[in-house]
Homo-oligomer: 351 residues x 3
């Protein structure tokens, strides 16, 4: 729940934004609420048509919405070509003003030799940092992080508590990494010899571009030969697994619990639904959208919206019948084939 | 493997329980064993019919079971209307008597200003705790935990090692959180503007009720506007992902590797099978059971047992054929339709 | 990206290996590259037929490959019966010579009473180690690890940063555990009584054999009664969930994001594809291979390659049609049955 000691007029909130205000610019806004629960003094937004039904009766003091919804808005309307983006900009006013931490290295932090840490960097208690690590200006390292030898973190990036970066990882600018993330652990490479598995050295590392977000407990493995690469602007949710030598293109967004097997290349501007599994050694071109729980077994060479399998729950009894029917499909096909030839024969007979 | 230096008579073990003993109350029990391997001196239980076949020959000294199985029990029988619950109560006698840690704050713990920590609290080494944190009586905080500003933990809760609670999280009473859990990281909200994704501030937090259990490396994101809410008595397994603004109803139990996308509401007393994916912005009513690997795409409004898809492995060759047949279903339907009209025509012709 | 200050002749690299060299034993190799990008001075390998097309034009100075590919190799050829294994052996020359850490216990490490730590062990900063812990020779414990009371780690094992081992866990020799792994958290056992779930004490622990590898953020729960057991030579990827009382047989290899529910036994020499879900209380025999995203609901009693479900993405529109067709399979079967009886009747009529 948000703290409520902030106050802005609507005209303050929209200053500089690409929006039109229909209503009172002096209206005081003290917080944010969802459209169906917002109260007087709160601002809300309408982007999902599922929530349109709440517009008429919302108690919010203002709604961010599209031109075509504005007529139905009973309160102050902030008309935007992209209401969700406008909401993101306005919500920032009500975000916890986490006071910028006083820069400095906590005395408990353990640093290796020959590190290059900018004076504006914050390193929290109980961090352990290897040798020859380079951390640029305004980076924030949360409590209990581990950073391996030779790793580089560019300016304005943020590691929350308990992040692990192995050695020689490169993190770009303005990257945000949530707690529990592990970047640069060895890729999963084993060669079988006479029944036993032998480790294949993982000689590459991981390169993360600028403006990347990585969700809690996600793992990104280091490359076998070359680096695993996450390009600029990629957004990843929690509990993702990115295998060695994967490359993910700029501005691709991936929802949680998705795994990408080794050496696969995903293009730019893709949207990957949660719980998906993507095979190794394949290519997904730019602009591909996958719905949730997609099982991608082969390359996808044309942009578009793709899906796999049979989804959507039904009562268990029906599910059991459907599974049985699925397993009798071969029989069904044979029977249709037989019907066709018998019917043809009969038709000729009665000519 | 359990340590074996405890001894109880059957009558001590069942004192106060809602059970009947058929056999010798003075029989000495020194430990627990699975029915097929238990030895003299051990107590076991029978709940899963798969294991009934072992009852006749079990070497255990006593078996906890239902009335209707008691006749077949060759040894001391503890007859219970709910044998698994009775087992849970008796097993507690043989649980590691983890000596209650001496309360106190380890000198290495780093605490922010204005915390309110009860004198009975244990804070282990290398914890980092923000400012204005409130921790009630008998809470145990394991080594290396991070607790953000303004977070509240109610009485008798336990955080194992390496738990991360972000700022302003609320944890109820008697909550158990396993290692690697991350609660309160930012929800996955990004608004697209001209191809780039912009972070939507996540202004809510997470509220966890009383008697909740959360398994290792599970992640629960903070809400976008309001809190993400886990109600009393919810039990979650490992490696779950709970998106922002999800609400999970009281006494719902969820098996591992399950993901719930943002703003979905799950009712009370649900049972969610492992590896399930639950879409965002939907409602699952009270008393819904989902088998494992369910892909829930729409709201479920009636209680009952639900499932999705095609499950159960078959030899790969058959699987490939089934996949091909599945993709030819449209063709099969067309052929059946054509058969129907040709047969009708023929039938009329031979009238 | 690899550091490039190492130099070996081909004859040095292959000394003692089961290979034949076709080419110049004095050729200098300074690093490793993928076949399609390798440059002069680099060695590469060919194992995946997908990459055969790059052989003719590779700029590498040497290629590790099978006899039958050697004729097409335009550069020095290292002919091996098992090129990937040979590659693993040669790549080790170019692996980061992570200087063996100076053994010793960092002064910040907190140790309980009665530990038995060999003098050759490295314990990094901010580790917290319980009482009666035994750590054998040459074990490396990374920064910020937690090791519970009574846990035993055999010789030459390695825990990366932020690993959690609960109490009484047994870790074999030469085991490698990546960051964020949690071993020995309580299994997921709850007994329902009058609607509320009661914890079932988890009395067993976890036993990990020799030469096991465990990937980042994987969780392995302690047994309910007996131990959860991972046998020698098992290789596990990232973000796996292993339930209580599971047993995984020697030299089985399991790809990421796979979950195994409680009490299931997986045999030796199995290969489990990523994203699979394996039901509880079942048995998978030795030598079973599962393709990715398999949903295993019943025991598998014969070795072989198995799969489940419908995989492979199609355009979303086609997917929607297929889902609808799947749900009409019962109707289709009825129509085929009706056609069969009507055709039979008609056939008899026109006899």
């Amino acid at each position: 729940m948000q703290a409520n000691h902030k106050k802005y007029t609507l005209s303050e909130l929209i200053q500089g934004l690409d929006v039109k205000l229909k209503g009172d610019p002096q209206c005081i806004i003290t917080g944010i609420g969802p459209i169906q629960q917002a109260q007087v003094g709160q601002i809300t937004f309408l982007t999902n048509p599922l929530y349109k039904k709440y517009l008429e009766t919302t108690a919010a003091s203002a709604v961010i919405l599209k031109e075509e919804e504005a007529l139905d808005c009973p309160v102050n309307a902030i008309i935007s070509p992209n209401p969700y983006y406008t909401y993101a900009q306005i919500a920032a006013f009500f975000s916890e003003q986490v006071k910028a931490p006083t820069p400095g290295i906590h005395p408990s932090a353990v640093l290796g030799e020959d590190c290059d840490i900018h004076a504006s960097v914050t390193i929290s208690p109980y961090c352990v940092i290897g040798k020859e690590v380079k951390i640029a200006e305004n980076v924030y390292i949360g409590p209990g992080c581990f950073i391996g030898d030779g790793t580089v973190i560019e300016a304005d990036s943020r590691l929350d508590a308990h992040v692990t970066l192995y050695h020689k990882v490169k993190i770009g600018k303005r990257v945000r990494i949530a707690s529990g993330v592990v970047i640069g652990a060895d890729g999963f490479g084993f060669a079988n010899n006479k029944g036993a598995w032998h480790k294949v050295p993982q000689l590459g590392s991981v390169t993360i571009g600028d403006d990347v977000d990585i969700g809690a407990n996600t793992t990104i493995d280091r490359g076998a030969v070359e680096d695993t690469i996450i390009e600029n602007g990629v957004k990843m949710d929690n509990l993702m697994q990115i295998g060695h030598n994967v490359r993910i293109g700029a501005n691709t967004i991936m929802a949680g619990c998705t795994g990408v097997a080794g050496s696969t290349v995903i293009g730019k501007n893709c949207m990957i639904g949660g719980g998906s599994c993507i095979n190794g050694h394949i290519t997904i071109t730019d602009g591909v959208m996958l719905t949730g729980m997609s099982a991608v077994t082969k390359s996808i060479l044309q942009p578009g919206l793709y899906s796999s399998g049979v989804v959507g729950v039904v009562p268990n009894e029906e599910f059991r019948k459907n599974n049985a029917r699925f397993n009798r499909l071969g029989n069904l096909m044979d029977r249709v084939k037989s019907l066709e030839s018998r019917l043809k024969e009969l038709t000729e007979r009665v000519k």
